[in-house]
Symmetry: C2
Subunit: 121 residues, 2 copies
């Protein structure tokens, strides 16, 4: 069983966290067939934490997790914090296959999307 | 003269800030004809600050600035901090027209882009 975990920053503003959860629901609809489960988790300030979410997915029978950093640039969260959490999870759950996807900001289509939005297309 | 200002969070990791600057350069190439200037600025931890960047653009003859929050969710930075900075700039520079664009995370095309990336398309 394969899961996608959207790993977001988390906010003190709960509406922002709800937005991320709604985004994960939108993605789930688009990724049927590719992932059995699509969920989100947060690095800070919101629940669930990334490690909690992965452990729960594992307990529910997930065998592969793709962690997708929902971040625009590779600051310390993307470059260090998320890889460290994954490394720790790999030690704790050796039979779970965890893969780290490139973060959103690395998507080569992003400049075109932003430019289209700004031109009002 | 019309400018786009990409307003990003800023990082302690300078490579992350450089990534945002490179993104602004990519956007500039795509938005010729829509904006005379495309620059980026940061809320925290990196230079220039948003107010510094707007004041410099104004000093250089820009009459309209569109501020685009390069953020994925409307946390406090998007909901409060950036609008407050813009409000203050409007008081200081009454002859400059400053408009706040919707933030990136509100772009309705974003879920499709992320889903395509995750399906490897």
């Amino acid at each position: 069983m394969r899961a996608l975990l959207l790993a977001a920053h988390g906010s003190r503003r709960e509406a922002s966290n709800q937005e991320v959860r709604a985004f994960a629901v939108e993605l789930a609809g688009r990724l049927k067939g590719s992932f059995d489960r699509v969920e989100c988790a947060f690095l800070e300030l919101a629940s669930p934490a990334i490690d909690e979410a992965v452990e729960r997915l594992y307990a529910e029978g997930v065998t592969e997790v793709l962690v997708y950093p929902y971040f625009l640039a590779a600051g310390r969260h993307v470059a260090s914090d998320i890889p460290e959490i994954i490394g720790e999870l790999e030690r704790r759950l050796p039979s779970l296959e965890i893969t780290l996807a490139p973060y959103l900001g690395a998507d080569p289509e992003l400049p075109d999307l932003v430019a289209r939005g700004l031109r009002g297309e």
